[in-house]
Protein backbone atom coordinates (compact mmCIF):
# COMPACT_ATOMS: atom_id res chain seq x y z
CA UNK A 1 0.00 0.00 0.00
CA UNK A 2 2.87 2.35 0.94
CA UNK A 3 4.64 1.57 -2.33
CA UNK A 4 1.47 2.25 -4.31
CA UNK A 5 0.97 5.60 -2.57
CA UNK A 6 4.60 6.57 -3.17
CA UNK A 7 4.35 5.50 -6.83
CA UNK A 8 1.26 7.71 -7.26
CA UNK A 9 3.10 10.63 -5.63
CA UNK A 10 6.15 10.12 -7.85
CA UNK A 11 3.93 9.95 -10.93
CA UNK A 12 2.18 13.14 -9.83
CA UNK A 13 5.53 14.89 -9.42
CA UNK A 14 6.74 13.72 -12.84
CA UNK A 15 3.58 14.84 -14.62
CA UNK A 16 3.55 18.16 -12.77
CA UNK A 17 7.15 18.93 -13.80
CA UNK A 18 6.37 17.83 -17.38
CA UNK A 19 3.33 20.11 -17.41
CA UNK A 20 5.41 23.04 -16.14
CA UNK A 21 7.96 22.42 -18.89
CA UNK A 22 5.57 21.76 -21.76
CA UNK A 23 8.24 22.88 -24.21
CA UNK A 24 10.10 19.65 -23.39
CA UNK A 25 7.16 17.47 -24.50
CA UNK A 26 6.55 19.56 -27.59
CA UNK A 27 10.27 19.27 -28.42
CA UNK A 28 9.96 15.49 -28.28
CA UNK A 29 6.88 15.62 -30.53
CA UNK A 30 8.60 17.79 -33.15
CA UNK A 31 11.60 15.50 -33.08
CA UNK A 32 9.41 12.44 -33.74
CA UNK A 33 7.45 14.30 -36.43
CA UNK A 34 10.66 15.35 -38.19
CA UNK A 35 11.70 11.68 -38.36
CA UNK A 36 8.31 10.69 -39.79
CA UNK A 37 8.48 13.47 -42.39
CA UNK A 38 12.07 12.70 -43.38
CA UNK A 39 11.22 9.06 -44.03
CA UNK A 40 8.13 10.08 -46.03
CA UNK A 41 10.04 12.54 -48.21
CA UNK A 42 12.96 10.22 -48.80
CA UNK A 43 10.78 7.30 -49.96
CA UNK A 44 10.75 7.28 -53.79
CA UNK A 45 7.55 5.26 -54.25
CA UNK A 46 4.50 6.80 -52.60
CA UNK A 47 2.72 3.44 -52.88
CA UNK A 48 5.15 2.01 -50.31
CA UNK A 49 4.25 4.63 -47.70
CA UNK A 50 1.14 2.92 -46.22
CA UNK A 51 3.19 -0.27 -45.75
CA UNK A 52 5.97 1.45 -43.81
CA UNK A 53 3.73 3.74 -41.74
CA UNK A 54 3.76 1.43 -38.68
CA UNK A 55 7.53 1.01 -38.66
CA UNK A 56 8.09 4.74 -39.16
CA UNK A 57 5.88 5.59 -36.20
CA UNK A 58 8.05 3.44 -33.95
CA UNK A 59 11.28 4.75 -35.45
CA UNK A 60 10.14 8.28 -34.59
CA UNK A 61 9.08 7.24 -31.09
CA UNK A 62 12.33 5.36 -30.47
CA UNK A 63 14.47 8.34 -31.39
CA UNK A 64 12.23 10.74 -29.46
CA UNK A 65 12.25 8.47 -26.40
CA UNK A 66 15.99 8.92 -25.87
CA UNK A 67 15.47 12.69 -25.62
CA UNK A 68 12.53 12.26 -23.31
CA UNK A 69 14.33 9.80 -21.01
CA UNK A 70 17.49 11.87 -20.92
CA UNK A 71 15.51 14.99 -19.95
CA UNK A 72 13.60 13.11 -17.28
CA UNK A 73 16.89 12.61 -15.39
CA UNK A 74 18.30 16.05 -16.20
CA UNK A 75 15.48 17.45 -14.03
CA UNK A 76 16.52 15.18 -11.16
CA UNK A 77 20.18 16.16 -11.32
CA UNK A 78 19.65 19.93 -11.67
CA UNK A 79 19.72 20.62 -7.93
CA UNK A 80 20.59 17.24 -6.51
CA UNK A 81 16.99 16.00 -6.34
CA UNK A 82 18.18 12.50 -7.28
CA UNK A 83 20.34 12.43 -4.15
CA UNK A 84 17.37 13.87 -2.27
CA UNK A 85 15.24 10.94 -3.43
CA UNK A 86 17.91 8.48 -2.33
CA UNK A 87 18.04 9.98 1.17
CA UNK A 88 14.27 10.43 1.50
CA UNK A 89 12.11 7.66 3.00
CA UNK A 90 10.81 6.58 -0.41
CA UNK A 91 11.20 3.13 -1.91
CA UNK A 92 13.33 2.92 -5.07
CA UNK A 93 10.66 0.66 -6.63
CA UNK A 94 8.16 3.51 -6.28
CA UNK A 95 10.63 5.96 -7.84
CA UNK A 96 11.11 3.58 -10.77
CA UNK A 97 7.42 2.92 -11.37
CA UNK A 98 6.51 6.60 -11.01
CA UNK A 99 9.14 7.65 -13.54
CA UNK A 100 8.48 4.75 -15.93
CA UNK A 101 4.72 5.40 -15.92
CA UNK A 102 5.29 9.11 -16.57
CA UNK A 103 7.73 8.34 -19.40
CA UNK A 104 5.15 5.94 -20.86
CA UNK A 105 2.45 8.62 -20.62
CA UNK A 106 4.64 11.17 -22.43
CA UNK A 107 5.41 8.70 -25.24
CA UNK A 108 1.76 7.66 -25.54
CA UNK A 109 0.80 11.34 -25.80
CA UNK A 110 3.37 11.90 -28.55
CA UNK A 111 2.24 8.72 -30.37
CA UNK A 112 -1.43 9.74 -30.23
CA UNK A 113 -0.57 13.18 -31.60
CA UNK A 114 1.51 11.60 -34.38
CA UNK A 115 -1.03 8.99 -35.48
CA UNK A 116 -3.51 11.27 -37.32
CA UNK A 117 -0.61 13.02 -39.05
CA UNK A 118 0.85 9.65 -40.02
CA UNK A 119 -2.50 8.54 -41.45
CA UNK A 120 -2.65 11.73 -43.53
CA UNK A 121 0.97 11.97 -44.67
CA UNK A 122 1.43 8.25 -45.39
CA UNK A 123 -2.08 7.84 -46.80
CA UNK A 124 -2.48 4.88 -44.45
CA UNK A 125 -6.08 4.50 -43.29
CA UNK A 126 -6.52 2.28 -40.27
CA UNK A 127 -8.35 -0.87 -41.40
CA UNK A 128 -7.94 -2.77 -38.12
CA UNK A 129 -9.37 -2.23 -34.68
CA UNK A 130 -8.70 1.12 -32.98
CA UNK A 131 -8.70 -0.31 -29.43
CA UNK A 132 -6.11 -2.85 -30.58
CA UNK A 133 -4.02 -0.03 -32.05
CA UNK A 134 -4.26 1.86 -28.77
CA UNK A 135 -3.21 -1.28 -26.86
CA UNK A 136 -0.23 -1.70 -29.20
CA UNK A 137 0.82 1.92 -28.69
CA UNK A 138 0.47 1.58 -24.91
CA UNK A 139 2.48 -1.65 -24.73
CA UNK A 140 5.08 -0.39 -27.20
CA UNK A 141 5.61 2.85 -25.29
CA UNK A 142 5.88 0.81 -22.09
CA UNK A 143 8.51 -1.37 -23.77
CA UNK A 144 10.61 1.73 -24.47
CA UNK A 145 9.94 3.40 -21.12
CA UNK A 146 10.74 0.62 -18.63
CA UNK A 147 14.26 -0.30 -19.80
CA UNK A 148 14.77 3.35 -20.78
CA UNK A 149 14.04 4.51 -17.23
CA UNK A 150 16.58 2.01 -15.87
CA UNK A 151 19.29 2.78 -18.43
CA UNK A 152 18.54 6.48 -18.13
CA UNK A 153 19.50 6.24 -14.46
CA UNK A 154 22.73 4.41 -15.31
CA UNK A 155 23.79 6.90 -17.97
CA UNK A 156 22.48 10.06 -16.31
CA UNK A 157 25.56 10.45 -14.13
CA UNK A 158 28.00 9.72 -16.92
CA UNK A 159 29.48 12.30 -19.22
CA UNK A 160 27.83 12.15 -22.64
CA UNK A 161 24.67 10.52 -21.29
CA UNK A 162 22.69 11.47 -24.42
CA UNK A 163 25.11 9.37 -26.49
CA UNK A 164 25.39 6.48 -24.05
CA UNK A 165 21.65 5.99 -23.54
CA UNK A 166 20.80 5.02 -27.15
CA UNK A 167 23.88 2.80 -27.31
CA UNK A 168 22.59 0.80 -24.35
CA UNK A 169 18.88 1.03 -25.03
CA UNK A 170 18.54 0.39 -28.77
CA UNK A 171 19.96 -3.16 -28.89
CA UNK A 172 17.83 -4.14 -25.90
CA UNK A 173 14.50 -3.00 -27.33
CA UNK A 174 14.97 -4.49 -30.82
CA UNK A 175 12.62 -7.49 -30.16
CA UNK A 176 9.89 -5.20 -28.81
CA UNK A 177 10.29 -2.77 -31.71
CA UNK A 178 10.03 -5.55 -34.29
CA UNK A 179 6.88 -6.83 -32.61
CA UNK A 180 5.14 -3.45 -32.25
CA UNK A 181 6.10 -2.41 -35.79
CA UNK A 182 4.61 -5.62 -37.18
CA UNK A 183 1.51 -5.35 -35.02
CA UNK A 184 0.97 -1.69 -36.01
CA UNK A 185 1.46 -2.46 -39.71
CA UNK A 186 -1.05 -5.32 -39.51
CA UNK A 187 -3.57 -3.05 -37.79
CA UNK A 188 -3.06 -0.31 -40.41
CA UNK A 189 -3.40 -2.67 -43.36
CA UNK A 190 -6.10 -4.89 -41.96
CA UNK A 191 -5.26 -8.26 -40.50
CA UNK A 192 -7.12 -11.09 -42.29
CA UNK A 193 -4.76 -13.76 -40.88
CA UNK A 194 -5.20 -12.36 -37.34
CA UNK A 195 -1.43 -12.07 -36.76
CA UNK A 196 -1.46 -8.83 -34.77
CA UNK A 197 -2.50 -10.46 -31.45
CA UNK A 198 0.60 -12.71 -31.55
CA UNK A 199 2.88 -9.70 -32.03
CA UNK A 200 1.04 -7.85 -29.26
CA UNK A 201 1.48 -10.87 -26.95
CA UNK A 202 5.22 -10.76 -27.65
CA UNK A 203 5.39 -7.08 -26.62
CA UNK A 204 3.29 -7.82 -23.54
CA UNK A 205 5.78 -10.56 -22.54
CA UNK A 206 8.69 -8.15 -23.12
CA UNK A 207 6.91 -5.58 -20.93
CA UNK A 208 6.23 -8.11 -18.16
CA UNK A 209 9.92 -9.05 -17.99
CA UNK A 210 11.29 -5.52 -18.16
CA UNK A 211 8.74 -3.82 -15.89
CA UNK A 212 9.53 -6.34 -13.14
CA UNK A 213 13.27 -6.86 -13.68
CA UNK A 214 14.05 -3.14 -14.05
CA UNK A 215 12.16 -2.35 -10.84
CA UNK A 216 14.27 -4.86 -8.92
CA UNK A 217 17.55 -3.55 -10.37
CA UNK A 218 16.67 0.14 -10.00
CA UNK A 219 17.28 0.32 -6.25
CA UNK A 220 20.70 -1.30 -6.50
CA UNK A 221 21.78 1.06 -9.27
CA UNK A 222 20.38 4.09 -7.45
CA UNK A 223 22.48 3.24 -4.37
CA UNK A 224 25.65 2.98 -6.49
Amino acid sequence: MRTLRQTAQMLRKELLTEWRQRSRVSGIFWFALATVLMVAFSTPESTILPRIAGGTLWLGLLLASTRSLDQSYAVEHEHGAMEGLLLWPVEPVAVFYGKALANTAVLVGVALALLPLLVGIYDAPIHGSLPMLFLTVLLGCGALAAPGTLYGLITSQARGSSVLLPLLLFPLVVPALLAVSNATTKIFEGDPMNQAPSWIALVAAFDAVHWSLSAVLYGRIQED
Binding site: Q6, L16, T17, E78, G80, L87, P89
Partner: protein, 224 residues
Protein backbone atom coordinates in the same frame (compact mmCIF):
# COMPACT_ATOMS: atom_id res chain seq x y z
CA UNK B 1 14.89 8.30 20.21
CA UNK B 2 17.68 7.48 17.82
CA UNK B 3 20.34 6.84 20.48
CA UNK B 4 24.02 7.73 20.21
CA UNK B 5 25.78 8.02 16.87
CA UNK B 6 29.09 6.13 17.01
CA UNK B 7 31.64 6.79 14.31
CA UNK B 8 34.05 3.91 14.88
CA UNK B 9 37.46 4.14 13.22
CA UNK B 10 35.89 5.23 9.95
CA UNK B 11 37.89 5.68 6.75
CA UNK B 12 36.59 6.48 3.30
CA UNK B 13 38.41 6.91 0.01
CA UNK B 14 37.67 8.20 -3.49
CA UNK B 15 39.63 5.97 -5.84
CA UNK B 16 43.03 5.71 -4.21
CA UNK B 17 42.82 8.99 -2.30
CA UNK B 18 41.72 8.69 1.32
CA UNK B 19 39.27 11.46 2.25
CA UNK B 20 38.64 10.27 5.82
CA UNK B 21 41.23 8.46 7.89
CA UNK B 22 40.48 6.71 11.19
CA UNK B 23 37.78 9.04 12.46
CA UNK B 24 36.47 7.92 15.82
CA UNK B 25 33.79 9.95 17.62
CA UNK B 26 30.73 9.30 19.76
CA UNK B 27 27.86 11.79 19.46
CA UNK B 28 25.26 11.50 22.20
CA UNK B 29 21.57 12.25 21.55
CA UNK B 30 20.81 15.96 21.65
CA UNK B 31 24.42 17.03 21.24
CA UNK B 32 25.40 19.60 18.62
CA UNK B 33 28.76 19.16 16.90
CA UNK B 34 30.55 21.35 14.42
CA UNK B 35 32.88 19.81 11.87
CA UNK B 36 35.68 22.18 11.05
CA UNK B 37 38.51 22.14 8.59
CA UNK B 38 39.86 23.63 5.41
CA UNK B 39 38.40 22.81 1.99
CA UNK B 40 39.07 19.15 1.17
CA UNK B 41 39.60 18.19 4.82
CA UNK B 42 36.82 15.56 4.69
CA UNK B 43 33.91 17.42 6.32
CA UNK B 44 31.45 16.83 3.47
CA UNK B 45 32.59 13.22 3.14
CA UNK B 46 31.81 12.61 6.81
CA UNK B 47 28.40 14.28 6.38
CA UNK B 48 27.87 12.05 3.31
CA UNK B 49 28.71 8.93 5.31
CA UNK B 50 26.39 9.97 8.17
CA UNK B 51 23.58 10.71 5.71
CA UNK B 52 24.03 7.26 4.06
CA UNK B 53 24.76 8.89 0.71
CA UNK B 54 28.27 7.42 0.96
CA UNK B 55 29.40 4.06 2.25
CA UNK B 56 32.39 3.87 4.59
CA UNK B 57 35.29 1.73 3.39
CA UNK B 58 36.76 0.92 6.82
CA UNK B 59 35.23 1.02 10.27
CA UNK B 60 31.53 1.50 10.86
CA UNK B 61 28.90 4.00 11.92
CA UNK B 62 26.10 2.97 14.26
CA UNK B 63 22.98 4.81 15.38
CA UNK B 64 21.35 3.60 18.52
CA UNK B 65 23.43 0.42 18.19
CA UNK B 66 22.20 -0.28 14.63
CA UNK B 67 24.72 -0.38 11.84
CA UNK B 68 23.86 2.65 9.72
CA UNK B 69 24.47 1.30 6.21
CA UNK B 70 22.71 -2.00 6.89
CA UNK B 71 19.59 -0.25 8.24
CA UNK B 72 19.77 2.79 5.97
CA UNK B 73 16.26 2.35 4.55
CA UNK B 74 14.74 2.54 8.04
CA UNK B 75 17.02 5.26 9.36
CA UNK B 76 16.79 7.66 6.41
CA UNK B 77 13.36 8.78 7.57
CA UNK B 78 14.95 10.04 10.81
CA UNK B 79 17.95 11.80 9.27
CA UNK B 80 17.63 15.22 7.62
CA UNK B 81 20.29 16.76 5.43
CA UNK B 82 20.83 20.35 4.35
CA UNK B 83 23.66 19.99 1.89
CA UNK B 84 25.34 22.00 -0.83
CA UNK B 85 22.46 21.24 -3.19
CA UNK B 86 18.90 22.20 -2.22
CA UNK B 87 17.25 18.96 -3.48
CA UNK B 88 14.43 20.97 -5.07
CA UNK B 89 12.65 20.84 -8.43
CA UNK B 90 13.29 24.04 -10.34
CA UNK B 91 9.99 24.05 -12.25
CA UNK B 92 7.83 23.83 -9.12
CA UNK B 93 7.03 26.51 -6.56
CA UNK B 94 8.36 26.21 -3.00
CA UNK B 95 4.94 25.04 -1.75
CA UNK B 96 4.65 22.48 -4.56
CA UNK B 97 8.14 21.22 -3.81
CA UNK B 98 7.27 20.71 -0.15
CA UNK B 99 3.97 19.06 -1.11
CA UNK B 100 5.82 16.65 -3.44
CA UNK B 101 8.47 15.72 -0.85
CA UNK B 102 5.89 15.37 1.92
CA UNK B 103 3.74 13.16 -0.31
CA UNK B 104 6.70 10.96 -1.28
CA UNK B 105 7.70 10.44 2.33
CA UNK B 106 4.12 10.05 3.59
CA UNK B 107 4.78 13.00 5.93
CA UNK B 108 2.07 15.15 7.47
CA UNK B 109 3.13 18.78 7.37
CA UNK B 110 1.75 22.30 7.68
CA UNK B 111 3.38 23.52 4.45
CA UNK B 112 2.29 27.19 4.65
CA UNK B 113 3.45 27.25 8.28
CA UNK B 114 6.84 25.77 7.36
CA UNK B 115 7.34 28.30 4.58
CA UNK B 116 6.45 31.16 6.91
CA UNK B 117 8.87 29.76 9.50
CA UNK B 118 11.78 30.06 7.04
CA UNK B 119 10.68 33.51 5.87
CA UNK B 120 9.09 32.56 2.54
CA UNK B 121 5.66 33.61 1.34
CA UNK B 122 3.42 30.52 1.08
CA UNK B 123 1.25 32.28 -1.51
CA UNK B 124 4.16 32.84 -3.87
CA UNK B 125 3.62 30.76 -7.02
CA UNK B 126 6.95 31.44 -8.76
CA UNK B 127 8.95 28.36 -9.65
CA UNK B 128 12.08 27.83 -7.59
CA UNK B 129 14.21 28.68 -10.66
CA UNK B 130 13.16 32.32 -10.12
CA UNK B 131 14.46 32.29 -6.52
CA UNK B 132 17.72 33.87 -5.38
CA UNK B 133 20.35 31.55 -3.91
CA UNK B 134 19.39 32.62 -0.40
CA UNK B 135 15.68 31.94 -1.00
CA UNK B 136 16.53 28.51 -2.38
CA UNK B 137 18.50 27.85 0.77
CA UNK B 138 15.47 28.81 2.85
CA UNK B 139 13.23 26.54 0.76
CA UNK B 140 15.74 23.71 1.26
CA UNK B 141 15.63 24.37 5.00
CA UNK B 142 11.82 24.08 4.93
CA UNK B 143 12.16 20.81 3.02
CA UNK B 144 14.51 19.52 5.70
CA UNK B 145 11.99 20.42 8.41
CA UNK B 146 9.29 18.25 6.80
CA UNK B 147 10.88 15.21 8.41
CA UNK B 148 10.93 16.24 12.09
CA UNK B 149 14.39 14.70 12.17
CA UNK B 150 16.31 13.09 15.01
CA UNK B 151 19.71 13.57 13.35
CA UNK B 152 20.26 16.84 11.49
CA UNK B 153 23.22 17.09 9.12
CA UNK B 154 24.15 20.52 7.84
CA UNK B 155 26.90 20.98 5.26
CA UNK B 156 28.05 24.60 5.03
CA UNK B 157 24.53 25.76 5.94
CA UNK B 158 25.40 29.48 6.04
CA UNK B 159 26.38 29.58 2.36
CA UNK B 160 24.32 32.11 0.35
CA UNK B 161 22.44 33.33 3.42
CA UNK B 162 22.39 37.01 4.40
CA UNK B 163 22.76 37.97 8.10
CA UNK B 164 18.99 37.67 8.63
CA UNK B 165 19.03 34.25 6.97
CA UNK B 166 21.93 33.13 9.16
CA UNK B 167 20.08 34.26 12.26
CA UNK B 168 16.99 32.42 11.12
CA UNK B 169 18.98 29.25 10.43
CA UNK B 170 20.62 29.38 13.87
CA UNK B 171 17.18 29.82 15.44
CA UNK B 172 15.75 26.83 13.56
CA UNK B 173 18.72 24.60 14.39
CA UNK B 174 18.56 25.63 18.05
CA UNK B 175 14.86 24.76 18.19
CA UNK B 176 15.60 21.34 16.64
CA UNK B 177 18.33 20.76 19.23
CA UNK B 178 16.00 21.86 22.03
CA UNK B 179 13.45 19.35 20.72
CA UNK B 180 16.06 16.61 21.22
CA UNK B 181 17.60 16.32 17.75
CA UNK B 182 21.30 15.60 17.34
CA UNK B 183 23.09 18.19 15.20
CA UNK B 184 26.21 17.80 13.07
CA UNK B 185 27.22 20.96 11.20
CA UNK B 186 30.12 21.10 8.75
CA UNK B 187 31.36 24.64 8.38
CA UNK B 188 34.42 26.79 7.98
CA UNK B 189 32.76 29.54 10.03
CA UNK B 190 33.27 28.42 13.65
CA UNK B 191 32.14 31.76 15.06
CA UNK B 192 28.70 31.37 13.50
CA UNK B 193 28.43 27.71 14.49
CA UNK B 194 29.32 28.47 18.13
CA UNK B 195 25.80 29.84 18.55
CA UNK B 196 24.49 26.30 18.24
CA UNK B 197 27.28 23.79 18.81
CA UNK B 198 29.03 22.87 22.02
CA UNK B 199 31.35 20.21 20.57
CA UNK B 200 33.83 20.34 17.72
CA UNK B 201 35.70 17.92 15.52
CA UNK B 202 38.50 19.41 13.43
CA UNK B 203 39.67 17.49 10.39
CA UNK B 204 42.89 18.02 8.51
CA UNK B 205 43.40 16.07 5.28
CA UNK B 206 40.85 13.53 6.50
CA UNK B 207 42.42 12.98 9.94
CA UNK B 208 40.83 14.21 13.17
CA UNK B 209 43.18 16.64 14.91
CA UNK B 210 40.81 17.90 17.61
CA UNK B 211 37.80 16.30 19.26
CA UNK B 212 36.13 17.97 22.22
CA UNK B 213 34.39 21.02 23.58
CA UNK B 214 34.24 24.26 21.61
CA UNK B 215 35.51 25.96 24.77
CA UNK B 216 38.91 24.47 24.01
CA UNK B 217 39.10 26.23 20.64
CA UNK B 218 40.77 29.60 20.20
CA UNK B 219 38.25 32.43 19.75
CA UNK B 220 39.91 33.65 16.55
CA UNK B 221 40.00 30.21 14.89
CA UNK B 222 39.43 30.59 11.16
CA UNK B 223 39.44 28.35 8.10
CA UNK B 224 39.59 30.59 5.07
Amino acid sequence: MLGPVRIEDVSRRYGRRWALIHVDVEIRPGEAWMLLGHNGSGKSTLIGCLSTALRVHEGRITMGGRELWEHRQDLRGRIAVLGHKPHLYDDLSAAENLSVWAGLGGLEADIPGLLRRVGLDPERRDPVRMFSAGMRRRAALARMLLKQPELVLLDEPFTALDPAGRELLVGVVRSLRDAGATIVMATHLPQAARAVCEHALILEQGRPIYTGSVDGLPQDLAFE
